[in-house]
């Protein structure tokens, strides 16, 4: 039986993480702009471009994961499927983040069109929120993987993406030396609430699955809490990705502290995606508990068998000579 979900691994987890972060960066920047904050003019151009680049890297990771990369364009060919919807939303976020960012560069002809920019910002908020939720629905299509089959996965994905998105905006502001702005300080306070929510929702989700009626969900939760993924979960998601950033709120909010906090939150977000994607094992088919070979096991067996055949063939050839 499966000890982990082994078809989508690190690349897919990285893609989900980067796209979710990019989407919520766009949402945060758009809200800053719509609220009339003066920092938008300084921050939103480059941070918007960064969101587009992050999203594009996320898309590329998914393309690398595919076996037949030349046909990657076909991924939007079946809009009825959640995977296609996810790809469409991913593309929309990347395009909107890029278009939105261009409004902040004076050399662009439409830079002064504030009304149009606001419209793009509203579209960006909508696309960003949907893009963050669709992966939860996509994973929920796996009926044999009960760990993903809860509706609670949507808010969990939303909250963790909000944390990484806001952390990325704060990181961008700190790197551009505009983190002293009142709006960034407000985002930092809102982020505190979301980190607490993240701790409660992620912990609550895993604990809920540990007590689930589905055996495979309990096995997945067990893998996370005290199995193969315990290091990534406890150290990456809980301690470094949530508790330490929370503790940093006790210190003065200097730029260095903000940067450390943001980096830790981003790292925690990446660990969360990795753990939640790979821990969701499949329902056991009778007998799999006795005869389960991972892809690596099968490849090793095949290589050993091939080697043995080659050795035998060589012996036979030598004898004939």
């Amino acid at each position: 039986m499966e000890t982990k979900q082994e078809y989508w691994e690190g690349l897919a987890a990285g893609s989900f993480f980067l796209v979710a972060t990019a989407a919520m960066m766009l949402v945060t920047l758009a809200i800053l702009d719509l609220s009339g904050s003066d920092i938008a003019a300084q921050l939103n151009g480059w941070a918007g471009l960064a969101a587009a680049v992050l999203g594009a890297i996320g898309g590329l990771l998914l393309m690398v994961e595919a076996g037949n990369k030349t046909k990657a364009y076909l991924i939007v060919a079946n809009p009825a499927s959640m995977a296609s919807k996810n790809a469409i939303m991913m593309t929309s976020v990347i395009a909107l983040a890029f278009i939105y960012a261009t409004f902040f560069f004076a050399f662009v002809p439409w830079a002064g069109l504030a009304g149009l920019r606001m419209m793009v910002a509203v579209l960006g908020i909508m696309a960003g929120l949907i893009a963050v939720m669709v992966p939860a629905l996509e994973l929920g299509e796996a009926r044999g993987r009960a760990f993903w089959n809860s509706a609670a996965l949507i808010p969990v994905f939303l909250i963790t993406a909000a944390v990484t998105g806001m952390a990325a905006v704060i990181l961008a502001a700190a790197l551009m030396s505009v983190d002293g702005n009142a709006a960034i300080r407000i985002i930092d306070k809102v982020l505190l609430g979301f980190i607490i929510l993240q701790l409660l929702s992620v912990w609550g989700y895993v604990r809920g699955m540990e007590n689930s009626g589905a055996e495979e969900a309990r096995r997945a939760a067990g893998n996370i809490l005290h199995g193969d993924f315990k290091g990534c979960f406890w150290t990456g998601v809980i301690i470094l990705g949530t508790v330490v950033p929370l503790a940093l709120y006790l210190l003065a909010g200097t730029s260095v502290i903000l940067i450390i906090k943001a980096v830790l939150l981003l790292m925690g977000g990446a660990c969360f995606r990795n753990v939640f994607l790979q821990a969701a094992v499949r329902k056991v088919v009778p007998g799999e508990e006795n005869e389960w070979y991972s892809r690596e096991d099968i490849a090793q067996l095949a290589a050993a068998l091939e080697k043995r055949w080659q050795e035998k063939a060589e012996v036979v050839c030598n004898e004939r000579r």
């Binding site: 989508w8 076996g67 499927s81 790809a87 044999g144 088919v285 007998g287 099968i298």
Partner: protein, 180 residues
């Protein structure tokens, strides 16, 4: 018309002939098994032990998660219920492997696409049984029309109260098992 399969687990001795015959006819590698045979048990306590073997091909589900989930439409269901993968459309994203509750799809590294049991549809169209059914020396496998109440497979399913695998998932598999 809906093609289906019935496996009598009381007869299967786990010889893997179906797996090998399938690999031969479809030109599969050693690590590609479109129908695998699993060993269930031993169940119980010594000396009262029992066990059986469980051949697991693609279930050709009526409500197939792989067909619903495929982003390119490469996985599709024919009118006769057989689920196939269109090689020209498959981009090898492996999402169908993630959503399949039975773990019966394999990834062909050379072609970069996902492959699976095709229920020997070309043989069925010619009136021949699937290769695994034909090769089974103990006649543990049956294939036929599930929609025809008078077909051998439908009668056997009714007579022996055969059940599909993980029916609770609502995928409505076309492969039934007579459980020992």
């Amino acid at each position: 018309m809906r093609w289906g399969m019935l496996v009598d687990l009381r007869k299967c001795v786990g010889c893997h002939a179906c797996t090998v015959a399938c690999q031969n006819i479809n030109g599969l590698g050693f690590d590609e098994k479109w129908t695998k045979v699993l060993r269930v048990g031993p169940i119980g306590q010594f000396p009262n032990l029992s066990g059986y073997f469980m051949p697991v091909p693609c279930m050709h589900c009526e409500d197939a998660p792989c067909v619903e989930g495929c982003p390119t439409g490469a996985s599709y269901k024919r009118e006769d219920g057989i689920v196939l993968v269109d090689e020209d459309k498959c981009l090898g994203c492996k999402f169908c492997m993630v959503v399949c509750p039975y773990g019966v799809r394999t990834f062909n590294e050379k072609k970069g696409i996902v492959e699976k049991c095709i229920m020997c549809y070309e043989r069925l169209e010619k009136g021949e049984p699937t290769r695994c059914t034909e090769t089974c020396q103990l006649k543990a496998r049956y294939c036929g029309d599930l929609d025809d109440p008078n077909s051998e497979i439908s009668i056997m399913i009714g007579r022996y109260n055969a059940k599909p695998l993980h029916a609770e998932l609502g995928t409505k598999p076309a492969v039934y098992y007579i459980i020992p």
